[in-house]
Structure formats: structure tokens, C-alpha cells
Symmetry: C2
Subunit: 503 residues, 2 copies
Amino acid sequence: MKKDLEFVLQQQKEIMLLAGTGALLEWDRETYMPKQGIMNRAEQAAIVSRLVHEKVVSEKFYGALKRLVKPRTLRKLSAMHQFIVKRAFKDVRKARKLPPEFVAEMARTTALANHAWVEAKQKNRFRLFAPHLKKIVELKRRQAKLIGLEGHPYNSLLDGFEEGMTVEKLRKTFSYLKAELLKLLEEIKQSKKFREQGKKLFRKKFPVEKQKKLCRLAYGLILPAAESRLDVSAHPFTTTIGRHDVRITTRYHEENPFFSLSATVHESGHALYELQLPKQFEHTFIFDAPSLGVHESQSLFWENMVLMNEGFWDYFYQRFCKEVREELKGLSRKEVLEKLNEVKPSFIRVDADEVTYPLHVILRFELELGLIEGKIKVNDLPKLWNRKMKQYLGITPGKDSEGVLQDTHWSIGHIGYFPTYALGAIYAVQLYKRLLKEMPSARKQIANGNFEPVKGWLHKKVHCHGRKFTAEEIIWKATGKNLDSEGFVSYLREKYSKIYGLK
Amino acid sequence: MKKDLEFVLQQQKEIMLLAGTGALLEWDRETYMPKQGIMNRAEQAAIVSRLVHEKVVSEKFYGALKRLVKPRTLRKLSAMHQFIVKRAFKDVRKARKLPPEFVAEMARTTALANHAWVEAKQKNRFRLFAPHLKKIVELKRRQAKLIGLEGHPYNSLLDGFEEGMTVEKLRKTFSYLKAELLKLLEEIKQSKKFREQGKKLFRKKFPVEKQKKLCRLAYGLILPAAESRLDVSAHPFTTTIGRHDVRITTRYHEENPFFSLSATVHESGHALYELQLPKQFEHTFIFDAPSLGVHESQSLFWENMVLMNEGFWDYFYQRFCKEVREELKGLSRKEVLEKLNEVKPSFIRVDADEVTYPLHVILRFELELGLIEGKIKVNDLPKLWNRKMKQYLGITPGKDSEGVLQDTHWSIGHIGYFPTYALGAIYAVQLYKRLLKEMPSARKQIANGNFEPVKGWLHKKVHCHGRKFTAEEIIWKATGKNLDSEGFVSYLREKYSKIYGLK
């Protein structure tokens, strides 16, 4: 038993160290790698991820875990080791359901597909990507069978990103959300404020150097510099190289200072989660979040609940003005905050506001379901996409690069991922409401630039559990509620009724 | 046979990809890693280098190579595959002479020793480092026995850095060099110019931002930006992540603009070698230099032969002035060049000029020989060091951190490495003399800022061979001479006689 446990811990440690190495290969590719390093980098990443996979599914690892999870052996372990062993056993058993040939085929297919997607998006030609997506959908349908969870085949894909979540639960949540958000959006569109918004303009250009200072300031409020970095990449992301080495990136648009700031704060929320995971779980499979939905709840907590709220601007507005006073052309704190909270249907998901964002997700969820069920053909996607955009947001993208081709997810085989964005938004609201109940001073602390109490609260409620519990368990423990879409809708209605003067 | 060859090529490819991954882990540690990432990084680097080592010494790899090198099999292979197989067989056989326990012990010992050395240097206390160095010397003596080359035990250590080089050859070269350089140095010291040098001073500060521009300019003359990077680290270095991804670093000293510039050009020379290795050798053991001496010949070619010569300043002086005109306080092109070529005995090897540099190396070589022969005790090193410094350079370091503790090499187990620096200096002169003979226009090309012909020549003479031949073979092919210390001395004598007005 002792030997098995030692091996299992050592194996997890090696897997986690190699995974962190793989993360560095990716981080570097997106930030500092010389352009021509790309082919070599792809091969380096492939070999590291193959080594990780081989270690995860190895007979020896599985054998040791199988012996350890036997009830009579398991109960002799410490509580923490029990969690670790059970978690690893579950992960390994699932990973072993996919034969090595399948994993290799998926890797090859997505490598080509991603390449094709980049070109298709650039050239705005869906048909360059379509054959690759067909292949991916086929593989994903096969994967669903191989994983073989109960209920809808999509459940087996969803489970890879949001363990325990099902189509049945999502359909209920999303149909409610869709109806409510469409209603709210309609009311907003009818308001005088909506018709007038966008009239008060900034200057056209916010120099990148000034934006950098602002982002660095915001980042410094949330993350410790000795354990993190802020860099630039085409698409903002967070990555964990090790327990004390978590890195975020942002992107600067000269015409919009809020994009870089929102991205910085969003990724800082992800990174804070990683940095506040319990240190005693380091180098094990429970040194992680339980799901992408919960992870997103942390980024959106900081982006939507903190950055887009009054308290933050009480603290930040003067500092903001110090850098970009001229560019602001006299916009007041209230006006800046309103600008940040503008609701406006847009083609691009990552540019969407709080109200329309879930509709972007629901649209994708519905199309993915159709693809996996075999009811939707890949070739029909552009048409269906545009039809749904018109139906939900009232706008029709002029080109596929701003429509069906906008996201990278499908090209890398991530079907079943999008719903986690909406779950994160709901969880974030639940957590924020709970925070205000348990710590009424939170807003004031933020207004004073003291983020420590809020960080401590998030640690106690979410981060400290690592991956010991499921997403639903953690949210229930933290907020006393399951996924609360009613609470989410009432939060949006309250907030935006005030902003848009709705009845 | 075909299967063996395929396996051997695939195994080498995986080894090289993982080695490049290890290089990225190190590069990142020295440049961008958040401070607290250090412990995790050490573990990541250890596991990657263990995986590389396991692959190198694996039975399967050795078995396949053994079958392939049999003359009857070997001659059926293409010429290139013959080189690759023979090279890999030799490397693997040598690597397998060190048992895994020995490799692990060396890794543990040097990890601790390097840590101790950093502290010892900081606190200027040799005795903090001494016990670690004793252990390393013991291990190195064991390693020499395990490798077991003919002749002096030091040969087996030297061979790891400069294959084929021996104590017997070095003693001859170094005793000649020592006598000649001491004589030349003495003459220089007696000159009027020497007594007066350093009187004409720059300003005290050259802003780092200006130095950065100058370094970027020099770097851009030698290296292609799409395949390389220039960053900052405490100690300048070059590292190869992949065929099209070679990175260099430099360091900025506000009071001395030549340090960063020399380091940049020096490392650019190393990097150019790596970038100009023949692409058909990629992912094999012959995609490399044959020795550190030859590698150093390339960095010193650019640093000593190009940067410190008139042609370069014909091109660069105006550009230099554009950035630092004020700081130069009116120094002419000739005066700048003289400044760059000042001979002045100094405590620190990396600050040394062309004339005294080999004396720093010879001092270390003599001490290393004594340690490996068991004739010198670690505890006596500081005393012996200072005595030799006085004897060779006429100065005595005031503290060990500027004496015996200055270099990191011994702390990481690199005994037998220093001589390669002097070999590089000699080879660089040989190559430069040959270049001027074969391409009399080279100086003019450089003066015009056109470095392509020189780069092409180096490729044809040195880089294109990769590791197909030994260092001596490559130098002989390129220059028609073996290691030419007489030519080196006559070059120095001629150059510095002119500068210092010697007879």
C-alpha cells in the first residue's frame, strides 16, 4: 500500500510538472517565440503532451490506483490521500476509455483543422474549414460513444469541461435564460437611453503605453508580481506554469481602453484562483478547479462584479484620469461606468455585454447539440448561425469571419465548452450576492483599493477546495444554492433597469 | 535495418525536442520567470533532463545503434545516415559509461553546490563553498575513471567539452602562450600609452534605453529577428530552442556601454552558428558544433575580430554617436576604438581584454589540473589563485568574490571547460586571417554594414559541417592549419604594437 501510494503521488507529480512545462511551451508561443519557431514548437508540445498522456494512462499507474481505491485499503489512507486517490482513479479510468489511436487521430485532425480555421477566418471562407469540422464532429460523436455517460451523447463531451453537467439541466436553464434575456434586451432597446447611447464619445486613440500603465495598475491590485506576469498576446489567456508561477496576457486596442483593462482583470481573476489553490495539493490532480464553469466564475467575478461596479471606480477613476485625462474628453466617473456597462447587440462574443453574452453561448449550444445529434449538417452552419443571430440579437453578421468562424473552439475539438461561459456568469453573480451578505463592507473595501478581504473570502469559499468537490458542491457550500439562473436574471434586471431607466 | 534506422532517427528527434524544451525552461528562468517560480522550475528542468538522459542511454536505442554500426550494415546507409549513426553510437556509448546513480549524485551535488556558490560569492566566504567543491572534485575524479580515456585523467573531462583535446596538447600550447603573453603584456605596461590610458573619460552614465537601441542595432546586423530574440539576463548567454528559434541575452551596465554591446555581439556569434547549422541535420546529434572551442571561435570572431576592428566602426560610429553623442563627450572614432581595445589587467575574466584573457584561462587550467591530479587541495585554492594572479597579471584580488569565487563553472561541475575559451580565441584569429586572404573585400563589406558575405563565408567554412567532423578537422579544412598559437601571438603582437606604439 505504501509503495503504491508513493508511486501514485510521484506519478502525479511528474504529470503535473510536465503539464506545467507544456504550459510554458504554449505561453512562450503566444508571447515571445520568434515567428519561425512555430513548427518546432508544435512538435515540442506534441511530445510533451504525449508523455503526459502516456503517464496518465499507464498500466502501472492504473494498477496502483485500482489497488488503492479498494475500500479496505482506501480507508487506511489519510483524508487528503483518499481524495487524491479517488480523483486520480476517476480521471485515469476516463482517460483510458480513449484508445491511443483515437487520441492520436484527434490530435492530428485538430492540428490541421486549426490551421485551416485560421486561414478560413482570415479569408472569410467557411468552406475551407467545413471539411475539417465535419471530421471533428465525427470524431466527437465517436468520443461521446467511447466515454459513454448516461443520457444525451453530448453529456460525455460536456463532462470533459464541466463534470456532472448534463444536457437535461442545461436545456432547462438555457430556455429560461433565453426567454428572460430576450425580454430584457427588448425593453432596453426601447429605452431612450439606449437610443442615445454612444453619442458621448472618447477621443479616437488611447495610446498603448498609457493603457499598459492602467492594466499594470489593475493587475497589481489583484495579483502578486513575484508569482505572476502580465504580457501581451493576440488572445488574452491565463496559464499555470507552477504553483508560484501563473501568467496572464492581455491585448491593447488603441481605440478602446476598456478592452485591455477588462481582459486584464478577467484573466487576473483566473490567475488568482490558481495562485490561491491549497498548497498541500500541489503536484496532484486535485490542485485544480473542479470545472471550467467555476473557473470562469472567478474571472467574471472580477470582471463583471468588481471592475464594472461603482466601488471599483470610486477607487480607480482618479488613477484612470491621471493617465488618460485628455483622451476621456471630460467624461465623468458615472459616464465612464455607463460606457463600460453599455448593452449593445454585437456580432462578436468576446465583445458582448453582460445581457447579450449568454445569448451568444446559447446559440452555440443549440448548434453543437444539433451537430452531435446529427440533425444539423456542417454545411448549413453559416445559414443557421445568421438566422439565430437575427432571432436572438436582431443583427445579421455581414461575413462568416464575424459569424460562425469567429471562435477557435471547434477547430481545436472543443465541443461542449461554450456552456461553461454562461455557467460562470451565473455562478459569479451568486458568489457576489453572497459576498455582500456575508461581508457588507466589501464594496467599501474595494472603493478604498483594499482587495485583500475579497480575495480572502474567495479563497475560503472557492479556491481552498481545489478539486476536492464537484462544481455544484462548491457552489452549494459557498452560496447555499444550486445553479441560480433566477438570481442571475433578477440581478441583470435590477442593474440594467437602473441604468436604462426601465420600469 | 530500416526499422532500426527509423527508430534511431525518431529517438534522436525526441531527444533533441526535449532538449530544446529544457533549454526553454532555462531561458525563461533567466529572463521572465516570476521570482517565486524557482523551486518548481528546478523540478521541471530535472524531470526533462532525466527524460532526455533515459532516452539517450536506453537499451533499445543502444541496441539499434550497435546493429547499425556493424560495417556490413553501415555501408548500406546513405553517407549522411552513416555520420549520424556513428556519431550517436559514440555519444551513447560514452553516456552509458556513467551509471544512473552517478548521474543522479552529480545532479544532486551540483544543485546544492551551485546554491552554496551563489551565497559564498555574495558573502565573499570561500569556506561556504569549499566542502561542496571538494565533493565535486571527488566526483569528477571518479567520472574521469569511468570515462577512462587514455593519458591524463583530465583528458576524460576535457573530452566532454572539447572532444579529442588532451592535457598533453594543451600544456604545450599554454606554456608557449603564457611566456609570450607575459612578455607582450610587460611591454604594453611599459608603454607611454598604457600609463596614460583611461585619462580620457566618457560621461559617467549611458542610459540603458540608449544602450538597448545600440545593442538592437548590432544584433540586427548579425541575426534575423524572425528566428531569434535579444533579451536581458544577469549573465549573457545563447540558447537554442529549435532550428529557427535561437535566443541571446545581454546585460546593461549604465557606466559602460561597451559591456552590453560586446556581450550582444559575442552571443550573436554563437547564435549565428546555431542558426546556420545545416537544416538536413535537424533533430539529430550532428545538428550541433563539434566542440565548445569551435563554438567560442564564432562568438569571438564577431566580438574580437569584427566589433573591435576598424571596419565595424567605420559603419557603426555615426550610428553610435546618434544615440550617445552627449555621453561620449567628443571622443573620436579612433578614440572609441582604442577604448574598446584597452589592455588592462583585471580581476574578472569576463571583463578581460584580448591579451590578458588567455592568462585567466591558463590560471584556471593549472588549478584544475592540480585538483584532478590530487596535488592541490580545495582549501588552498584562494591562496594559489591570488599567487598566480600576482604572477601572471601583477594584481591581487582584494576578496575571493573577485578571485576564486568569480565563476560559476566549478559549482555546476564544469571542470575542463575553461580551456575551450582560449582555444576559441586562437581559432577565431585563424579564421579571420583566412577570411582576409580568401575575401580581401571583407573589411570593406563590414564597413558598409553588409555582413552577409562574412556570414556566408563562416557558413561555408564552419557552420555547414555541423558535428560531422571534429574541431581539429573543421579548423584544418577551413584554415589549412591545426591549432595555431604562433599565429595568435603574432596577431596580438602586431595589433597591440600598433596601438601601444611598441617596437
